[in-house]
Symmetry: C2
Subunit: 265 residues, 2 copies
């Protein structure tokens, strides 16, 4: 790689030629660690990973959700797979990708937290986007509980149906964003609506709230999405358990047993 000996050893730089066994071990280990971080080192792959974290999905669907070309999405997903972050299985024609380990979700969440806390641009960009939609006002979890107890609120899950089925906030009503305009009649009249989606950087809820307001409804956005809800240790309702109707299950739930930093899920 770096040529012959000769006067190479003269430089002030590291004597890269004569590496000790300890050095070679470290190089090998850190090269492995960097396989994981290199896989995360692309905006598109982070987005794909967050989508995969919502539930298993096919290549074509992931590519479309992330606005990527099909071949490009496939290649990015392969990079993630080679780094051990996702797994894929082939069922018939379709290849389904899923998160390889819940720990990967934790890594993603920590990455996001570091960016939020250390990069001022994250808050600036978010604020500007929300301001542009007149949605600086948000509802946090505590406020949502209060509203639910008050009973005059509809909690709306605007994600695609399969994500709703994979897990949603108890008591939420599923109306995917593309269907919202023509299903307005289903919403309880006169009630305030709180919409949520995948997370704070998923735009579905923002668009839903915008649409609802243009139709003259009172609507707000839940500041966190489903992943944050789960990460905070709260219960999710999924298709299997959903038969217990939607009554007011949120109101009856224990109020956040561990606000610390549970990996939970």
């Amino acid at each position: 790689m770096n040529g012959s000996a000769g006067k190479a050893a003269r430089t002030a730089a590291a004597p890269r030629a004569a590496r000790s066994p300890g050095r070679r071990f470290k190089d090998a280990i850190y090269a492995q660690f960097s396989r994981v971080s290199k896989a995360l080192a692309s905006p598109h792959r982070i987005e794909l990973l967050e989508l995969v974290a919502q539930g298993p999905r096919t290549v074509e669907r992931l590519g479309r959700l992330a606005d990527l070309g099909l071949a490009n999405a496939s290649q990015h997903l392969q990079v993630l797979r080679e780094a051990g972050l996702v797994e894929s299985t082939k069922q018939g024609l379709f290849v389904t990708y899923r998160l390889a380990d819940p720990l990967v979700g934790e890594l993603l969440l920590t990455l996001r937290r570091v960016a939020e806390r250390r990069l001022a641009e994250v808050e600036r960009i978010t604020r500007e986007f929300l301001a542009g939609h007149g949605q600086l006002e948000e509802v946090d979890e505590a406020a949502l509980r209060r509203k639910v107890r008050g009973g005059d609120v509809t909690l709306l899950d605007v994600r695609p149906p399969e994500e709703f089925e994979a897990g949603h906030i108890p008591g939420a009503l599923s109306v995917p964003l593309p269907d919202l305009a023509r299903r307005l009649a289903e919403l309880p009249k006169g009630q305030e609506i709180v919409a949520y989606c995948r997370g704070p950087y998923c735009v579905l809820a923002v668009e839903a709230v915008g649409l609802l307001r243009r139709r003259g409804l009172r609507a707000l956005r839940l500041e966190d999405g489903i992943l944050d809800w789960a990460a905070a240790g709260h219960r999710l309702e999924c298709a299997a358990t959903a038969s217990r109707a939607r009554s007011n299950s949120l109101a009856n739930q224990a109020p956040a047993p561990s606000p610390s930093r549970r990996p939970a899920r």
Copy 2:
């Protein structure tokens, strides 16, 4: 970019020309997230970050510890700084880098855990290295406590003195690796010696144990290093509190309050 209209719309690829505001927001946000992961996407920077996590240090020292040329180390550290992961202050001639936030340490730890759990090579490389030094046998935390209670063990911190001062396992004796050969006389005779260093991928303790054994002493390596000790919620002793001698403080400590989510290698 993607040519004229005509049959352009036919392709399955993303229509990258007409991006919605939502798409532009996502692109901007994920670009920010990837600033953090791009900073981690180099083996050298991960190593530098782990060194910085041990305590503040100058550019020259970090470069030497990571076997990097000075300019190269400086550039890598700047990349880390621009991603908000480290901070630097200039005092006289020296620029000191430190971790910007404890959350960065958590990110680093999670990255390591993901690599350990998902990449088989990590265990393979470690095992091969340890086997080459005849040190497959390690002492874990529980075993260390047992030995300490038995009283016939010396706990040895072989890191550089300033890292020892910044925080060490209570009761440990500081003998930096380069001094070890000529300070053998200081070690209590006949006792077993347990050596530790920065972490499982730091080779100092391995080399210390090798040296001690060649001199005929009974020596073992503690499997985790100082960062893991602290991450497990244990108390550290630092220079300020070190006056309380070394008696047997480890034996008197509460036994691991949070054994919850250990990497458990």
